[in-house]
């Protein structure tokens, strides 16, 4: 069985967000890039499944320009066997999914993060499944393999379910899929240098959406402070002033 983990290259979650060009593009000056947190958990779970046996290979893939390679190297250092970078900017979700569909055939399990922490798209995994006509499950918080079946835990609105589903499967994963993301060890970093990072050419594909511009949220009014001894006063303010109680 082969696993493909989709990797999105995103700004560190503590990055101060700024825009340039009259607020039309994200200002990446001085930004630290990381593996999208959910993709990192997906990769961690893939490693655990491989260690349990029966997985031939884990590939990580990213649609991005050369600058995203350190992120793929990091994924190799965590333990993926090889990496594919499709050499194109990640224009929009459909464009990215169309590119990934070209390299995803042959994998039994494809793991995608539930969203990317930059543009919060929640879309690539589901689109990829539809393009390939594969099964998909979203909001996956656990996955195991039993013979040719996947045993999947998924969150539903107001609860959770366990289900059986056959592959090839696109599992769109969230919190719970693995406990803590794995951090590359020294040995992993050394080995990653020798692992294959293949670059593929993009195919023709259309983008269907475009960012017009960005805004920063309006600054918040100052916080009204109440003394600890008069805590009850807040309840009154919430009732009479804010009218939310």
């Amino acid at each position: 069985m082969k696993i493909l983990v989709l990797i999105s290259n995103v700004p560190d979650t503590t990055t101060k967000i700024r825009f340039t060009g009259d607020n039309t593009s994200f200002d990446d000056a001085g930004v630290q890039w990381i593996i999208n947190p959910w993709d990192e958990l997906a990769l961690t779970r893939a490693m655990e499944l491989k260690e349990a046996g029966g997985i031939e290979k884990i590939t990580v893939a990213n649609v991005g320009e050369k600058a995203t390679e350190p992120t793929l190297r990091k994924a190799l250092a965590v333990g993926a066997d090889d990496a594919i970078r499709i050499d194109a900017p990640a224009k929009d979700a459909f464009y990215v999914a169309s590119q990934l569909a070209e390299i995803a055939v042959g994998y039994d399990l494809i793991l995608a993060g539930i969203e990317a922490s930059d543009y919060n798209g929640n879309a690539v995994g589901g689109m990829l499944a539809e393009i390939l006509d594969y099964n998909s499950v979203s909001a996956v918080s656990g996955i195991n393999i039993e013979g040719d079946k996947f045993i999947v835990n998924r969150e539903i609105d107001g609860g959770s379910q366990v289900l059986n589903i056959t592959g090839p499967l696109v599992a769109i994963v969230q919190k719970g899929i693995a406990k803590e993301p794995r951090i590359p060890a020294m040995r992993g970093i050394m080995m990653a240098r020798k692992k294959p990072l293949n670059v593929a050419n993009p195919i023709e594909a259309n983008e269907r959406t475009q960012f017009v511009n960005f805004e920063l949220p309006p600054p918040k009014a100052a916080c009204k402070m109440i003394d600890e001894e008069n805590a009850k006063e807040i309840i009154k303010l919430l009732h009479e002033e804010a009218k939310v109680l």
């Binding site: 543009y119 589901g126 689109m127 909001a139 366990v162 009850k232 939310v244």
Partner: protein, 320 residues
């Protein structure tokens, strides 16, 4: 030409979210001069279905097919796409919920439609079609244009006021012509949260962080939640420590919520935590550290000990 909305139900009842979607779609439909069609999958009474009409749906398509209870993503996507084609839908709207986020991308491929998830307001313009969404986990807002003829969005909860209208909707049974082969999900176990206010539905949320010191100290917060019919939430370390169940974890890697009122007890206000709660209308913070970043995002604050403040809140609510 029409706008199609996919309405979710919970044990045969619609959630407030569904009415928000209908009201939102009705406002867009008015501007475009089109009709609002609501698609409902599940065993729901006509009386409950007709409530969608009270918020502006012109026609309600109902699918009562047991097989859909497995929430098979492909099958539901096929059903929604079939309805969109028959009704000549130019806009398809889902809730930005677990299910909406699972289905919308598949439908967008089928209908060759551009998709924007997590939309938070009425379109900025209809032609070109530009909508707003939060990006960078709430740290910025983006205006996004959809260039395809059919447009799909998932709409965030608590982003639009429900509006009741004078209106009569027709209810029609709809056969999406899905075949058994479209279903490949077998559900072996379902655990529903019962008897509690669903966190994502709650108008008021009571949340505790590491400053609560132990899972045993949640009694006061539970009491507050009971009194206010509020949902319970927590920061990530709290669920990581096992003080509270994972379902209560809010933030960038947990649930994203937008209640009217959010109480943060002993929560420092890390950027990843705020990502999940910053859309709350009013935030109340209680923290013993005057420098805690939570106060920058809060509307009302107390620099103090949670153990001293919580009993006063309980008393204050009793006096209301």
């Amino acid at each position: 030409m029409s706008i199609l909305i996919y309405t979710e139900n919970w044990d045969g009842k619609f959630k407030k979210l569904s009415y928000e979607l209908v009201s939102y779609a009705a406002a867009i439909a008015k501007e475009m001069g089109s009709k609002v069609i609501a698609l409902s999958i599940g065993d729901i009474s006509d009386e409950e279905l007709s409530k969608l009409g009270d918020y502006g749906a012109n026609k309600i398509l109902t699918v009562k097919d047991e097989r859909f209870t497995s929430l098979d993503n492909r099958a539901i996507a096929n059903a929604v796409s079939a309805a969109a084609k028959i009704e000549d839908a130019k806009i398809v709207i889902f809730a930005n919920s677990n299910l909406g986020k699972a289905i919308a991308p598949r439908v967008s491929v089928k209908l060759e439609a551009g998709l924007v998830t997590g939309v938070i307001a009425l379109p900025i313009s209809i032609d070109p079609f530009v909508v707003q969404k939060k990006v960078f986990t709430g740290k910025a807002i983006a205006n996004v244009q959809i260039d395809t003829e059919v447009k799909i969005i998932t709409f965030s909860q608590n982003s639009y006021e429900v509006v009741e209208v004078e209106n009569n909707a027709t209810i029609e049974a709809f056969d999406p012509s899905v075949v058994d082969g479209d279903f490949s999900t077998t559900v072996t176990e379902t655990n529903k949260v019962t008897g509690k206010v669903l966190l994502t539905d709650a108008e008021i949320v009571i949340s505790g962080g590491r400053g609560m010191k132990s899972g045993d100290n949640w009694g006061g917060l539970e009491q507050l939640a009971d009194m206010l019919s509020a949902g319970l939430a927590c920061s990530r370390p709290v669920s990581d420590e096992g003080w509270r169940p994972h379902g209560e974890h809010v933030g960038q890697t947990g649930k994203i919520i937008a209640p009217n009122l959010y109480f943060a007890f002993g929560i420092s206000g890390a950027i990843q935590h705020l990502g999940g709660v910053s859309s709350s209308k009013v935030i109340v913070a209680v923290n013993k550290d005057a420098e805690a970043p939570i106060f920058e995002s809060a509307d009302y604050g107390i620099i103090g000990d949670v153990n001293k403040v919580i009993p006063q809140f309980i008393e204050g609510i009793k006096e209301l």
